[in-house]
């Protein structure tokens, strides 16, 4: 559908560097990155508001670098939604259809289906200023989808909403994807949003795509320390590779005073290796023969619906952050064993 190849753009104080990105038809692809990472600049380039210095954008294999914004036919849902304040909801919804001269029975049917799916029929004659936050989101979503765009760019549209409403709209987006098979590019800095809504994720940091892949791959196998830290993994340790035992690779982790078994070999044998462990991958161990078993004590910190625990090993100077489900906060400082499956030991590149 949309392919970006080796795209670079130099602005006064920022640079997009050799961006490669592919969004397949029907998928929801999340462009995830912290503030100032270049997401807005990349969006402007995709929309056609900025021209790349080098590289190309392809839409269905046609180069579109010099196409105008309107001829790209990308739907756009910006953070502030940009509903036209001087037009009522219905006129807002029909703006794209009229501008593209798409008036037909089929377009009308599509619009009516969208209105019903998103449940905004009672709002049609209201002015945007009279709508609530959630209603405005729904109207803007339908308006962007009404002219049947090639691709819908969702530019952090839910970031200003409270968590309850945000979850409701995520589900709505999922339903729309299912019903209308819309190809979406979700631009966000919200990890939960990206992992909830998308099939594939690209991580943009400092103007460069650092990793791109299926969401599970990104979640469980971040490539570098930078990405791991961005994904919220704090369990990152320097280890020394000490050799192979049967089908496992052994790493000495001085901070935890343990030799960890991993499924993957070191990136550079002989050198120090950075290891990461997701908090979700650390389990309370009941069996003595569990892999990578460490003795220590847990201090729990209630964090919303789940509980974050800080595990301090009996030996070693480091700590491990772990996610506990149903672990009672009352059992503070109790001696426990935790275990880490060898497949969950992540080897980082940098």
């Amino acid at each position: 559908m949309l392919r970006i190849e080796n795209l670079s753009l130099q602005l006064d104080d920022f640079q997009l560097k050799a961006i490669d990105l592919e969004i397949k038809k029907g998928e929801c692809h999340a462009l995830l990155g912290p503030s100032g990472s270049g997401k807005s600049t990349l969006v402007s380039t995709i929309l056609g508001l900025k021209k790349p210095d080098s590289g190309h954008l392809y839409l269905e294999e046609r180069i579109i670098d010099r196409w105008s914004v309107e001829s790209r036919a990308f739907g756009y849902l910006p953070q502030n939604l940009a509903l036209f304040p001087h037009l009522d909801v219905e006129k807002n919804l029909r703006y794209g259809i009229k501008a593209r001269k798409l008036e037909s029975a089929e377009t009308e049917r599509h619009l009516q289906d969208l209105i019903d799916t998103v449940q905004i029929r009672p709002l049609l004659h209201r002015m945007p200023a009279t709508l609530s936050g959630g209603e405005r989101q729904r109207v803007a979503l339908v308006r962007a989808l009404a002219p049947q765009p090639n691709l819908l760019l969702l530019d952090e549209p839910f970031s200003a909403l409270d968590s309850h409403l945000r979850r409701e709209l995520w589900n709505l987006v999922l339903r729309i994807r299912q019903e209308f098979e819309t190809t979406m590019l979700l631009i966000t800095h919200d990890l939960a949003e990206a992992f909830y809504l998308s099939d594939n994720i690209s991580i943009l940091i400092d103007g460069k795509i650092r990793q791109s892949g299926k969401r599970e791959e990104i979640f469980f196998h971040p490539k570098s320390e930078k990405i791991a830290r961005y994904l919220g993994i704090r369990n990152i340790f320097t280890a020394n590779y000490i050799g192979k035992k049967v089908d496992k690779f052994l790493f000495d982790v001085p901070e935890l005073a343990i030799t960890l078994q991993a499924d993957h070999p070191p990136h550079q044998p002989g050198d120090k290796q950075l290891l990461a462990i997701r908090p979700e991958s650390i389990q309370i161990s009941e069996r003595e023969d569990d892999n990578n078993r460490i003795e220590g004590e847990i201090e729990t910190l209630p964090m919303g619906s789940s509980t974050l625990g800080i595990f301090t090993p009996v030996q070693g100077t480091g700590t491990l952050e772990l996610q506990l489900h149903g672990y009672s906060p009352l059992e503070q400082k109790k001696k426990v064993y935790v275990a880490i499956s060898s497949k969950d030991v992540i080897l980082l590149n940098e």
């Binding site: 914004v69 501008a99 593209r100 962007a144 002219p147």
Partner: protein
């Protein structure tokens, strides 16, 4: 004195200043003279000439100000800062100097050629329109630019992504949303053109029944020490100008 009271006093001072000055001329008010002025062919000509010239000048200024104000509001281009600074040019040079600059231009070979082959500006209706146009265009562009500044860029971007061409987006989004500012710019520019004196008299002269606008007529009456006639004409000019300004407020309130 509290802060609130002090600021309100300052606002009341403005009313006292202008209202007081207008009231002070009523000392020389003579109803008969006003009626005579209003029914004199020369005054009626001056009123008509002032209204028509100010309207022409305002329309011409708007034709330039709408695209220019939009460009200054939206685009970054070479020379933008210089143009922005030049908008205040008519305000920093005195109106008489501005008129002199126009006169000198028409004594240059290019100006001479324009006068000979296209339009005669010196001592003519076209000269009045030109003097008013030159005086108000900068400020009209400034007002229109401010009006477009108030329209968020995102709305235009979104219109473009929905399929609108730049023209369509301008006509259906930017212009309607900037309309209140543009109405204000139009009426204020028109009022400024209506009261323009210095540049007009320098370029168009003081020919009765030809180039005598209302401000020039006021000057002519004052020169002959006809105070009552001067007061009558001032009141007519004030009535037209204030009506225009109140109409602006009314239109803006209505379009809210």
């Amino acid at each position: 004195m509290s802060f609130r009271r002090m600021t309100i006093f300052a606002a009341l001072f403005v009313l006292l200043l202008y209202g007081g000055l207008i009231l002070s001329i009523l000392y020389f008010f003579d109803g008969k003279t006003l009626w005579e002025s209003l029914s004199s062919a020369r005054t009626l000509f001056s009123i008509r000439l002032s209204l028509i010239a100010a309207t022409f000048a305002t329309v011409l200024a708007l034709l330039i100000a709408l695209p220019a104000g939009y460009a200054l509001s939206r685009f970054h281009f070479r020379g933008r800062q210089i143009i922005d600074t030049f908008l205040e040019f008519p305000m920093i040079v005195s109106p008489a100097a501005l008129g002199a600059v126009i006169l000198i231009f028409f004594n240059n070979p290019l100006g001479d050629w324009i006068q000979e082959h296209l339009v005669t500006f010196i001592f003519s209706f076209a000269g009045i329109v030109l003097a008013q146009f030159v005086t108000i265009t900068g400020v009209t562009v400034r007002f229109v630019k401010s009006a477009f500044d108030e329209v968020p860029h995102e709305l235009e971007t979104t219109a473009r992504t929905l399929g609108a061409t730049p023209w369509h987006s301008f006509l259906t989004v930017s212009l309607p949303l900037a309309r209140r500012g543009i109405i204000a710019a139009t009426i204020l520019s028109w009022a400024k053109a209506l009261g323009e004196f210095g540049a007009t008299i320098t370029v168009a002269g003081t020919m009765a029944m030809r180039t005598e606008t209302l401000p020039i007529a006021i000057y002519m009456h004052l020169e002959t020490a006809d105070i009552k006639g001067t007061v009558a004409l001032i009141l007519i000019l004030v009535a037209i100008g204030l009506s225009a300004l109140f109409a602006t407020r009314w239109l803006l309130e209505r379009s809210r």
